[in-house]
Each structure stands twice: as C-alpha cells, then as structure tokens.
Symmetry: D2
Subunit: 365 residues, 4 copies
C-alpha cells in the first residue's frame, strides 16, 4: 500500500514554455487546498535537485503567475543527472549522480516528484521512476511533437504569436508585391508551421515531413501572379528540408559559428528564391524566441491548469511512473516507459495537410 | 445514386460569431479548387433564400476574410421559413414558405446547401433536409452548448476576449481592494464563464448549472480577506441563477423595457452584494458584444477551416442531412435529426468544474 | 537654501490608472541610482500617510512592474486629510488631520513627497505644499482632462482599449445591420470618446461638450443607410448630455439604486433610439473598468517613466510645490497653485472636432 | 489667385508603414465630403504616375481600411522619375521622365497631388513642386527620423510591436538566465530602439548615435548579476555601431550575399558576446518586417487622420509646396524645400537618453 503523502516537489526542465507557471500554480494550489501536502520547487530543473536548491511553494508564492510565460522555478536545458558533468580531482568527468538526487529528496522528506518537461527531461523522470522514486510527468513542448498526448501546453500560444506575425507580414507583402518568408520553430516537426500557416493564410507551408522542391514553390508563386495576386507568404519550419538535399548557400551556413543563429532555413530559402525570381523583392523573417515567451494564451492556461490538477490527483491515487496527457478532450495518463522517444510528426496524408491542400496551400512538393 | 454536384450555396444564420468568414472561405476555396463547383451565398440567412437574394462566391470574394469576425453574407436572427411572417391581403400572417426557398434553389440550379448556424438555424436545416434538400450543417455558437460536437468555432475567441477583460479587471480589483463582477455571455450554459473564469483567475464563477447562494459568495470573499487578499473577481454567466430564486432587485429589472440591456445579472448581483458587504467597493462590468466580434482567434481560424473543408467533402461524398462536428481532435459528422434540441450544459460533477474547485474557485454553492 | 534630501516618499491617490507603476518604478530607480535617496511608499494614498502605513521601495520591489496596470502602493478614492472622517468619542466626525501626516513624515525623516493623482489628490498636495511640505505632483487621469498638461498617462491605454472594442463591435454591426452604442469613460470630458471614436471609425460621437439632439443622430443613421451602409457605430462619453435636457427613460434610471451601474447613458440612448428606429436592432455596450486596467500601453510606459524621472530631478533641484507636466513633446512643470480646478474640455471648435467632422463623423448636433 | 480645385490625386511611396491607409481614407473622405473634389490614387507610387496607372478613390473604396497596415495604393521603393530607368533602343538608360508625369496629371485634370512618403519620396515631391505642380507632402516613416515633424505615423505602431516582443523575450531571459539580444529597425537613427527599450524594460540600448564598447556591455551584464539578476535584455538598433569600428565576426558577415538578411548587428553582437561571456547562453532575435505591418495603433490612426484632413485643408488654402507636420500637439506645415535631407537623430545629451540613463539603462558607452 502506498505510503501516505505529506510533501511533494516540482521541477521544470528544458526550454521555457508558456503554461509552465500555470502548471506550477495548479499543482501547488491543489496540493495545499485539497490534500494539505507541503510543496517545494527545485530550481533550474534537475540541477536544483542535485544541489538541493529549492524554494517552498505556497499559495502566496504562486499568486499572479497564471498568465505569465516562463517559469518561476527557472529551467536548464541539458542537465541529466544520470550522466552529469562534475569535477573530480580537478578534472571534469561525466558520472551518474542520480543517487545524490534521491538522497536529497529523502532528506527533505519529499514523497513524490512532479517533473514538467519535454522528451529529455521526461527520460530522466522515467529513470528516476525505475529507481523507485514516486514520479509524475507533465508533458511540455511548444512543438507539440509528443506522441503520448494529443496536445501540449505552449503550442497554442506559439501558433498565436506566429499567426499574428503572419497577419503583419501580409500587409507588407501585399503593398509591395513581395515574397515574404517566415521561419517558425518546431524542431523536427512541422506542427507550428502547419497550424500557423493555415491560420495565417500562408500560400506555401514547408515542413520537415514533406521535403520541398524549390521549383514547386516558384510554380505556386507564378500561379498566384497569374491569378492577380503578385505576392506570397511562405511559412517554413526550422526543420524543413529541401527534397534533393542540395544546399545552395551551404557555404555561408557552414561557415557560420552557429547556423541557426545566423538565420537558418528562412534566409537560405530567401537567397535560393532570389536566384530564380528576379521580378519580386523577397524578404525573410525569423520569429525566434518571441514564440515561446510572453503571456500564456487562454487555451494554454486552461490546459496547463488541468494538467497540474491531474498530476496531484495522480499522486493522491498512487499512479506513479505515469505522465498526464490529453486524449481527445479528456485528461488521461500514460506510462513514462511508453512515452519516451515516441515523437509525433505531421502525417503527410493526414487530415490537417489535406485541409491545407484543399484550400490551395502548397507544400512545395 | 447521387446526382452530380455542379453548384452549391451557403448561408449563415443567427448571431454573428468569429469564424463564420473562415468557414465561408474554406467552403468556397475547396469547392472551386478541388471540385470545380460554382458557389453562391444567400444574404441574411434564410431571408435571402426566400428572397432569392444572393451573391456569387469566388476566390476573389473570399480573399482577406479568414481572420475577420462577422459574416460577409450577413445574418439574421429569427427568420424561420417554415413559420415566416409575410404580408397577405394587407395583414402580416405566419406561414410555411419553405417551398419558395426550394423553388428558388431549383431555379438557380443549386445542388446542395451549406447552412452555418446554431440550434435555430440548424432546425430549419433539418426541416429542409426532410423536404429532400441536400443540406450540410455546420455548427456555430460562441456559447459552445451544442451536444453533437465537442467544440464549436467562436467559443475560443469569446473566452480569449473574456479572459483579457478579467486580466484587466484584476489590476483595478487589487489596487482598490474591490470586488469586481464581470458578466459574460453563454445563454443557458456556463461554458464561457467557466473557461474564462479558470483562465482569468477568477475567485468565484457563477453558472446556470449551479444555482448560487449569495451567502456562499460572501463567505468566499471573507475567506480571501482572511488570507490577505482583500479583493475578488466574480465571473457570472448571463444565465446564472440564484439558488432560492429570490430576486432582490426584481423591481428595477422588471421595470426595465429590456432587462438584458439594463445589465442583467451582473448589476443585480453587485447590488445584492452591496447590501451585505459594506467595507468594499463593488463594481460590475457587462462585456456584451465585444465577445463576439473582432478578429478570430488562431484556434477558431483552424477549426472553422477544417469545418468548411469537411462540409465540401461531405457534399462530394453525398453525406447529406448531416452536420459536421468535432469529436476529440477528429472531424466527424452527425445526423441533423439527432443534433437539434440536444444542448450541452456544464456538468456540475465534470472534470472542468472539479479542476476549478481544486484550485480554490468557488461556485457560490 | 534647500536642506539636503536623504529620503523621499511616494503615494498614489484616486482611481487606478495604467502607468502608475511605471511612475513608481522610475521615481524609485532614479532616486536610488542617481541620488542615493532612500524611498518609501505610503499605502492607499493619503490614508497610509495618516496611518503611517508604508513600505520601503527598493530596486527589487519595483522589478517587473513597468508594464503592469494598477498600483503596487494601492489607492483610495476619497481620503482628504484636510477633511477626514475620524472617530471621536464614539462618533464619526470630520476634521483636519493633516498635522498628523506632517508629523508622520517628520518622524520617518521624509524630506520630500511625490504625490501621483488627479484633481482631488493634487488639491491635497497643494494644501500640503502650503503647509511647507516639499511636495512634487505627478498628474494622473485616464480622462486627460487636466489643463496644465497636454497629455496624462493612462489616456493612451484607455483609448487603445476603447478602440479595440469598437473594432470588435464593427463586425457585429455590419453582419446584422445593427446600431451599436458603446459607452466609454471620461467623466465630464469627451476626450476618450473623441479620440477612440476617430480611431475606431465611429459614425457618431457624443461628448459632454456638444449636447446632442437625438433627431440629428437618427438623421445620420438614415443618411448612412441611403449610402448603402445600413449599420452605425455610436460612441457615447459617460458624461454626454441630450440637448433639450429631456430624459426619455428617466423613470427607470431614477428608480435604480445606482444609475451608473445600471448602464447610464448608453442604455438610455439605445432605448431612446428604439422608440424612433424600428427597422434596425440596437445594442449597447458599457465598457466600464476594462478601460483602466491591464497592461500599460507603450506610449504610457514611456510618458510615465519620463514623469517619474522628472519628479526626482525636480526634488534634486528643489522645485517643490510644482507638478510635472508635458507641453508639446517637452517635460515641464507648473505650480500646484495653478493646476487645481483647472480642467480641460474638448473645444467644440478645436482641431480634433473639426478633423472628426471633416471625415464625416456626426456629433449629433 | 489659385485656380479652382476639382480633382486631386494621391500616391504612396517608399516602405509600407502603418497609417498609410488611414491617410488615404482621411484625404479621400475630406476631399469628397467637405469640398466635393474628385479623388484618384496612383498605384505603386511614382511608377503609377509615370504609367498613368490609377484608381478612382471613393467613399466606398476607402471603407474598412482605417485600421489596416500597408497601402491599398501599393508602393514601390526606388522609383525616382527625375532619374528613371527606361528602355531606349533596346538598352536600359536613366533619364528624367518627370514631364511625362506632369503631362499625365494634366490629361487627367489633376489639380493637386498629395504625396505620402519618406525622405526619398518627398525629394521628388519637392522637385515636382519646383516644376509648378501643386504638391502637398505627408511625412511617413516608422523610423521617426524626419527633422521637420515631431512625430511621424507608423512609429508608434513600430515601438508597440517591438515592446511586445521585448515583453515576450523577458520571460525566456529570466527563466534561463540568458542574455537576449533583440534587433529593431530604425535605419540610421536610434528612435525605435530607444523608445521600445525604455518601454520594454531593456537593460542595454545600442543606437547609432552612441557607438558602443562591448566591454561596457559586459560590465553592465556583470553588474546585474552582482545584483541578483543573472539575465539581461539588449535592444540594438539595426544601425548601431561598435566604438572602435572593429568587427569581430566580419568574415562571416562579409561572406554573406546579403548581410542584413543574415541577421546583421544582433547576430554579430551575440557572437561577439559569446567570445567573452562563457557562463550564460546568449540568443538573438531580429524582429524584421513584423514591425511595419499589421494593424495600425490607435495613436497612429489618429495622427494619420489628422495629417490626411490637414493635407486637404492645405489644398483648399492653396498652401502648395509644403509638407504637413506635427509640432508639439499641433498640426502645422513646413516648406518641402526645408525638410529634405534634414534628418533627426537621437541627441545623446537629450532628455530621452537621460531618462533612460536615470533608470539605469546602459548605452554601452
């Protein structure tokens, strides 16, 4: 029988994401108000767990954070306690320090740990579960690429920001008869590009799941011209790839110390298009981090709150080793063993791609 | 076997709703680009069908409308052609003029009719289907109260507007230690109040499905004071009802020529609270029509586009007499015979109410 | 010669207003970083000064507040220490308690007081200046009705909120061929109605400075119809007045326990219009407190910051008894003796009214 | 005495800018409603004037455009009819074709021309004025760098977009203890960076008018760390320059086919900072064209409307050869002879820079 829960801990790992604070708030309020648990939050994800660096979470400390992006617990990107860099005898070495973390939780009397993060963070969560820690996972990624849940929080906010940017680019495109290329986030998945592209009235959407042929893009641009619309909006996912694998401006991108920072696919594509389209101005914009910050959308506030409440309910029910998820419009859960490494990509034959094609959007293929 | 489709018509009925134009655009583009149908739109809902008042819908005429609220086809609220007011011999009489509508469609060669509307509009759609018209319904209501679909477009936009208003009211409430009462739409259902209340960090949410006791509201306000938060935000659905049915300021409301216009439940509640809470200022705001206008949210643009494309696919597949709907995250359909009069209310024992209660929101009960 | 300044105090009085926190932040940061002053803030305006209820203001305590509406120092509306309600021998009596305030400042070693407020709050500031307190005034009102300054912070945010609401109402008005009446704030001045009306594409703007004739409004509505625009947007300032002083629905409004709360002029006007216009639906919306809360606009953040820095510069220069103000695009100041009771109304013959008339807006006169 | 005006023309030149449509609308409505002028609009700026490519502007054609970014008349960037590229005997040659433009206006009976544009466009306006054309200039630039007017429309919208982006970047910066570099527009002036930086709570603002020293930036970052704020926001104007003129990553930037497109100063600065700051992640964002598109801000809608009305008043008064401008809060005008080439830069000793410094913002100098 499950030991009685008296104290729980929370941590957030990976890139920041609108809704993290809403989850923290919902977990804390539910834990205190419904079950009388004590709550603490480790700072900077697993690093805080290793360093025993935490803050108490109270009704007061989670006040006024529901709508705010970011995480009041801070986050770090690459700290894996099962393969952690520590100094030993004056040298930096990699070792498994997960026992330190377990020991820290024991010392503090932490009975259960809520881990909010993406694939990397949840992999460690699974590994702690295997070590017997009472772990509950909460999925987080603006990219919406986790297979175990229909939707993750942060995604709706990201597509709202991207869609608003596309709305803005439209006026310039139309006024100057330009081709505007807009790069959005999404890592190896095309969800943000696809949904923002549909919502933002894009003419071409390029996603990693459908390698593009630059000639097909040009064809679409020319077809629009023929229909009296001498301007086009192209949304390109940061992970999009050319069909033939050939990279026209590879030299520049390879030269760069940080290809993503120097503009990545949008700038490359704009350059490539300029080589073949001489009668339009072409401009590129890389949305970057504004997609993951700022106020959390209404949709994400609600979803995050549901996740946070569900995580505490699962603690109360002893459902450890699982990750909360959304199936259809119902909150559910899935074993952490099954969710890791199980990414969700856009189905090139799926409904959303068909919807986009039906209204005339080209995927450059 | 189904007759070949060459020409389709569209109409929008009932209150305007963000996403109507997105559906019109998606239907028109898909019909023209994928199937080569000709498309016309009747103006002002069924009234235009009766008067044979329509416009051709082309790729050009649906350009630039994806994000815009309202409907380019205009709408009317109460025109039921099966019980329509016409002048006969100098008198206004009610009669069934649906045959005129059917005749008009025949004359114009309209092979299928897409009807976008709420309960009232779709009831007529069902009745036309019974008369043999090839009808496809598309559900519309910002109130999200149609049982046959998990979500309707317009709802997300409405809760975004309401949530932003609650965000704004918070600063005043906190600065002045006030009680702010905010009335939102929703007719006889509490969906907008419930979701906007959760997203907007309300302290009390009053919905028709859970009659309220004013003493419980006062209790919550006093409890917050005791916790050092001498201000509260109350969201009240326009259809909310007091538990005991007693109406404290009934005199004023009854006197009024139009109770809703004079402020309805929010002003009444603020007045009632003032009778028992003397140490706080109390203010009420009635959001009104700003909830249903303006730019369509990203979520609603995508959902509306999916509905519009699906409606044309259903025409192509001969699936007449049905309404497109969303089940979980999948587009599906349901017979118009089953959807009418089948409203969806907030379940007082359902997950969302429990989520709200878990984080400490009171329902005044 | 001025005594050396070591410690200053701040207070905010009157209705909350976007930009208050930005002023508090700018005063605090400038005082600490440029002059090494200690800073405290009295809570709830003059009431805190009387009760010696204050908080220290540090770089830390003003972090993250630049964009937030409301005031971290709280505010109260009617506390005048020169005529203050206190309990004496078990009875509530009015008396001058300003000496207590002066004594409190002396005890705490407060060398100068920055008072942020509107007409009422600044009147007391002047009275404290007359008593020899080193006072600097900062003008605050969303209504923009202070004569001594060209612009006050909060006004731009208020017209942005009102304009966005008008944008939203347009889609409903157009879709249903309705007359939409929208009431905005502004007290006895028409600034918010005038500027939001111009920016929000209103057809009729009703302001206190130009009493309206309902027949002229109907005339404008009919003229628009004749031009093929069977819908109209009317913006009405809360202080607008009918020309003949006659109040059609006076009975209802008089019956009400709180006429403003029951909707005031917008609902009345909608009712009046319904008596003469039978072929359109008419709807009214009262924006209310959402105009004064929420995030502060970019313009107001900058203006507030300039005011806050200038207030500290004036303390350093010994320019007491003055109020900071904006003249054209320059920061300046004016004696508190001259600014009180000196309200600024819309000039019916001024440029802005002429601009509105030039593009066809009616003032119902 | 001035010839009676019967017909006027409008054109928009240079980069698109929020408010252009509002000017077009105000000119058209005022011209028609107040003076009965006929109005036409040349398409694509001067190019349309040369090609006699125009549309009639009516009350109908300017409906619904007040809030929309871009220009319904389209614009081109580099068409100077006094030095225009034309084909002659199979070769492209440069020649003065301004007589063709004058002739076109004569043929169409155009009595006066309203030219809306920036420095380049207004230079041609002046040259047409010298040729005897009845020209009125309207200043346009999001960069706010025209000396003859206190403010130009488009600027407020641009700083609102940039400020919102900074708000968003804050959450990521704080959650990850990052340095975020955000590049904004402004050409050779620092106005957007300065005002958005103040409004968006930047820690460092880099503008062309104050060359920066990277060591001073690092100093500021380290100082914030010491104060417990291990994250910083740097706003950099696209025209900002390093003090020593030395360019650390010049190789990459020079290699690039289009340095601006590859990210310009923000990416370079991020790279440079990475060489000296090893204990923080550094990220850069280039806002790009989203700053000049989308909906026009309330402030800009009003200013543009005032400009448009004033332009027609000037035509009526025969005040040709002048540009409308804003002085303080008053509409005025200035001879086109005086406004050209007369740019306005940020004064490093001016009030706004002092305000920024007072609250602790570093200019990296």
């Amino acid at each position: 029988m499950a030991k009685e829960i008296k104290k729980i801990a929370l941590l957030t790992g990976g890139g920041d994401c609108p809704g993290l604070n809403a989850v923290i708030r919902a977990v804390t309020r539910t834990a205190i108000l419904q079950y009388g648990y004590e709550v603490i939050g480790y700072k900077f994800g697993y690093r805080g767990l290793y360093n025993n660096d935490f803050v108490p979470l109270t009704l007061e400390s989670v006040t006024g954070i529901l709508h705010r992006g970011g995480t009041i617990l801070y986050s770090s990107n690459k700290d894996n306690l099962f393969d952690y860099t520590v100094e030993e005898n004056g040298k930096m070495v990699k070792k498994d320090v997960s026992d330190v973390a377990v020991e820290n939780m024991k010392k503090e009397g932490v009975d259960a740990l809520v881990v909010i993060g993406g694939d990397g963070t949840l992999t460690s969560a699974r590994d702690f579960a295997r070590k017997g820690v009472n772990v509950i996972g909460v999925p987080k990624t603006i990219d919406n690429d986790l297979a175990a849940t229909d939707v993750t929080f942060g995604f709706n906010t990201a597509i709202e920001v991207a869609t608003e940017a596309l709305d803005r680019l439209h006026t310039t495109a139309e006024s100057h008869h330009r081709i505007m290329v807009c790069e959005v986030m999404g890592r190896n998945a095309g969800w943000i590009a696809l949904e923002a592209g549909i919502a933002g009235s894009a003419d071409v959407i390029l996603i990693p799941e459908i390698p593009y042929d630059i000639n097909k893009i040009v064809e679409k641009i020319r077809q629009r011209e023929a229909e009296g619309k001498p301007f086009s909006i192209i949304v390109v996912a940061e992970g999009a790839k050319s069909k033939d694998g050939e990279v026209v401006v590879s030299k520049i991108v390879e030269d760069s110390p940080d290809p993503i920072r120097l503009g990545g696919i949008a700038n490359k594509l704009a350059y490539d298009l300029e080589q073949v389209i001489k009668d339009h101005e072409i401009r590129s914009t890389v949305l970057g981090h504004i997609q993951r910050g700022g106020n959390t959308s209404t949709y994400d506030r609600i979803l995050s709150t549901r996740y946070g409440v569900a995580a505490v309910e699962m603690i109360n029910a002893g459902l450890f080793g699982n990750m909360v998820c959304l199936k259809g419009d119902k909150i559910s859960y899935e074993s952490l063993e099954n969710v890791i490494g199980n990414n969700k990509n856009v189905d090139p034959e799926g409904e959303l791609v068909k919807v986009a094609k039906s209204i005339g959007i080209s995927f450059g293929a």
